[in-house]
Amino acid sequence: MGRARGMTSLIETRIEEIRQQGLRELQANRPTEALALFDRAFELGPTEEQHEILTINKARCLVELRESGPAVQALPMILMRRRNARHAFLAAYTLQYKFRLEGDYRKAAVYGSQALTLAEQNGGEGAAEVLLEQGSICVLDSRTEEAIGFFERALAMLGNQPGRELSVAIARQNLGYSLLITGEPARGVELIHDALSRMEALGADGFYPESHIDLCYGYLELEQLEMARHYGELGLAHAVEDRQIRNAHYLLGEVLYKLGRSEEARGHFEALARYYPDFPNLTNLLLAFDLRRMVNLKL
């Protein structure tokens, strides 16, 4: 009997080790590798408690991979059942993230609100990350002033806690961008520079292109065109997402147009227009009109 219990305990420990390995892969932005590890942990016969947390972890991987499956479908049930407060929080947070990626900002905000309540009931752990997500959802949904409130709350909550430096940098970056959009470009640029320095100190190079492109936008708003050009070119050189490449071309086109370099501006607008083959007049449209105030660059 004792031997069997010991064996069970060993299996539980092994499952938790594999789960932790999976979480590390997930944090390192390797969801496919993480998914394989969570599946291996499932095969070892987890307890009910472990089964639930593994389901949430697996769902997060699938969401990252823009896939669905039974694990993702189980999240609302885990949230409703609330057999474990921490699991319920994680389910709500994952659903908030899922709907944000899918562009359903209303549902994302509803799950975010539930996640925030649960985080606060659990002593506040994870609340700052939920606030950051809520802020990003507001930016995408053109509710930038609400976004500012969320980012400021997240920053107040994060303070100078050790181990949260990247979250602080991201919050400052997002707050800076929101200020650019709401007519405070000087304060916005200052915050983004500060965020970029923090990211550089952490070696978080995946975040640099977004900061560079936001700085290009900010300096363009401030009419500091050579600075705008500098950061636009940096952003373009390191951009990884299509959206970032498109934004860098668009903003550089605007900057160069304002610098009186129409031909170079045309080159960037033509590069952007290649993403929209169904709209042959886009280059001319961009040369004729400044769309900055009409378009949400985060979409």
């Binding site: 949904d141 959009i181 610098l259 009186g260 709209f279 004729a288 105030r293 009409m294 378009v295 949400n296």
Partner: protein, 118 residues
């Protein structure tokens, strides 16, 4: 809520064109792939869309760009001057000074000629 005049103008234009084509907000929103409530906010100048959505709206209405936006104003000579580097501005200043001297010399020449005629 942050509003910009341009977004408000475009919003009004979208509402006007939608009504001219006898489309409901839901019908237009379906065609361009956004929520009806977002289109409603866009028409009120409260919602900024992605570039692809803006382009879809233009395609759906099949309108020329000139109908939609106000033309970018042509830069004035002062705008062109202010976009130059300080060194280039100095060259322009020197050229203007040279042109002034040249014109003054021409005027002097003309008045000397006048003297000769006297």
């Amino acid at each position: 809520m942050n509003r910009s005049v341009q977004v408000e103008l475009v919003g009004r234009k979208i509402r006007q064109m939608r009504r001219q084509r006898k489309l409901t907000q839901t019908e237009l929103a379906d065609r361009i792939g956004i929520n009806q409530s977002d289109l409603s906010r866009m028409e009120q100048g409260e919602y900024r869309v992605g570039l692809d959505t803006l382009l879809k709206i233009l395609q759906t209405f099949d309108v020329g760009i000139g109908e939609f936006f106000e033309e970018r104003p042509q830069p004035t000579p002062m705008d062109n001057y202010s976009r130059l580097s300080p060194a280039a501005q100095k060259e322009v200043d020197d050229f203007i000074a040279f042109k002034r001297m040249h014109e003054e010399a021409m005027l002097d020449g003309e008045s000397e000629g006048d003297d000769e005629l006297d």
